[in-house]
């Protein structure tokens, strides 16, 4: 019997020591953080260009005038994101499965999938958006098929599906061979083994990794502004010219963060949960 067992109100020696340690760490962390913030508050305004930067980037008048318009434009970002994401998931899954196909007759699919992931993971996103977004409408397609919305979105879908495919493939590889042995030993076909046994587990394993891609996609929608759609980044550019102020860009940044930070936290949460399950 230890002391703690006899009297639960009285913490043991180890608990007392650890509580003291915690109090001390809290105090040190608090002081050092305050010092850093204080230094920033004091030093940054001392910079020679601070007055100009403040006027141009943090102009409250411009901010309050442009913010509602930026929010409106952000709806377009969300819309583009919303139609791209499911298509990316489907194409990524399809390509991932194609890369592991064994049937000789379907070898072209496998070859296509391998070349596809190599090419689109090897190109800068903005380059693909330029090539697809300007190139295809340049063929002189009739309305609405010359819309930059369609081809810009396609560029995003092509690039992100390549990444998603690789993530899913690594998930498939992470499932232990004994699972497919068990499924096959029961007389299930290769396709059913993949569909009912391997894929459900693989997709669950790579959910956190895919969440990170979702966050990245949400940000990269802004790149479409280069081929036409007046989404938030382009709208901020319009306001910049109108008010001769960079403040709208700060507003746009805040709007992005309001969405992406919770998504990132959620992805981290999933990742941690996954890690705990594996232990």
């Amino acid at each position: 019997m230890t002391k703690a067992d006899e009297n639960p109100a009285m913490p043991g020696r180890r608990a007392q020591y650890e509580a003291a340690l915690r109090r001390r760490s809290l105090w040190v962390a608090g002081v050092s953080t305050s010092l850093v913030f204080l230094a920033i508050l004091v030093l940054v305004p001392l910079a020679p260009g601070w007055e100009a930067v403040k006027k141009s980037f943090f102009n409250w008048g411009v901010f309050s005038k442009t913010f509602p318009g930026l929010l409106d434009a952000f709806l377009l970002d969300i819309a583009i994101f919303a139609w791209c994401a499911p298509l990316i998931a489907l194409l990524g899954l399809f390509v991932a499965i194609c890369r592991d196909i064994q049937k000789p007759a379907l070898y072209p699919l496998r070859l296509f999938a391998t070349v596809y992931t190599d090419v689109f993971r090897g190109l800068p996103v903005i380059l693909v958006i330029y090539l697809v977004g300007f190139g295809i409408p340049g063929l002189g397609l009739p309305r609405p098929w010359n819309s930059p919305y369609i081809w810009g979105s396609l560029a995003l879908i092509l690039v992100y599906a390549a990444y998603v495919a690789e993530v899913i493939r690594s998930g498939i590889g992470s499932i232990h061979k004994s699972q497919s042995s068990a499924a096959l030993s029961l007389g299930l076909s290769n396709a059913d083994t993949m569909r009912y046994v391997i894929l459900p587990q693989a997709l669950r394993n790579v959910l956190p990794a895919n969440m990170n891609l979702v966050v990245a996609l949400q940000k990269d929608v802004a790149l479409l502004s280069f081929v036409g759609p007046v989404e938030i980044f382009r709208q901020a550019g319009v306001y910049k010219s109108l008010y001769a102020s960079f403040t709208p860009y700060v507003g746009a940044a805040l709007i992005f963060l309001a969405i992406t930070i919770p998504m990132t936290r959620f992805a981290d949460h999933l990742m941690n949960k996954r890690r705990k399950q594996e232990q």
């Binding site: 004994s178 699972q179 068990a182 096959l184 030993s185 029961l186 299930l188």
Partner: protein, 240 residues
């Protein structure tokens, strides 16, 4: 019912099975004993066609299923295999684990199977665990579910690959009871096992494997009480 002739199997340079001959009659229970690495597991996986043999014949119900190029799927439906590490599907409940193969392979709906599956769970003392997930079950319970999963395909023969080796000692009995009950109803079975007491009690035939060969085979009494080979005697003295 099952007849193995001169089975050969190598993994790379490692000759794992070097000419196995074995006869298993309907309703018989055959136990394979021998040290780890003697080829017991490989032999069972070869019969289920998971690791196809390099050479030799496996006659099953009048067909040589070792024929290269044969579609393994219909054969595997009739030859069940239970694994040492259970290999339940962790994302499915116990009942879903059991119903997947009959549903996909035989086209039996969940509703059509449910009654029969409930009976099986009841019979093996798992009625209260039927909708649990594998990680909510003890090792012994998981292994019993794995046996039910193999049984649900109504195979002609069941192979058991050291199915009690991964279990805590106090859980071994509940799994052996299941085998006892299958034996009583006349199921044809081949077991790779380290449970010598169980083999002696129930087996029709015991085979001692050593370096990919069946060194000695006979009734439990012959193998356990009067082994002819020195190596068999040595092995038994180590494990008994």
């Amino acid at each position: 019912m099952l007849s193995l002739r001169n089975i050969q199997k190598s993994f790379g340079n490692h000759h794992v099975l070097c000419g196995i001959d074995l006869e298993v009659a309907k309703g018989e229970m055959v136990c394979l004993i021998g040290a780890s690495g003697s080829g017991k597991s490989t032999l069972l996986r070869a019969v289920n066609l998971l690791d196809p043999v390099d050479d030799g014949e496996i006659w099953f119900d009048g067909v040589d299923i070792a024929e290269p190029g044969l579609d393994p799927q219909p054969i595997r439906q009739r030859i069940g295999l239970v694994f040492q590490s259970f290999n339940l599907f962790p994302h499915m409940s116990a009942a879903e684990n059991v119903m997947l193969a009959p549903r996909r392979v035989k086209g039996l709906s969940r509703a059509a199977q449910r009654g029969r599956v409930e009976e099986l769970f009841e019979r093996f003392g798992l009625a209260h665990r039927i909708d649990h997930y594998p990680d909510q079950l003890s090792g012994g319970q998981q292994q019993r579910v794995a046996i039910i999963r193999a049984l649900a395909m109504q195979p002609d023969i069941l192979l058991f690959d050291e199915i009690t080796s991964a279990l805590d000692p106090e859980l071994v009995a509940e799994v052996l009871d299941v085998l006892r009950s299958l034996r009583a109803e006349g199921m044809t079975m081949i077991l790779a096992t380290h449970e010598m007491g169980f083999a002696r009690e129930l087996a029709d035939k015991v085979c001692f494997l050593e370096s990919g060969r069946i060194l000695e085979e006979g009734t439990p009494a012959q193998i356990f009480d009067a082994p002819r080979e020195e190596r068999t005697r040595q092995f038994l003295s180590q494990v008994l």
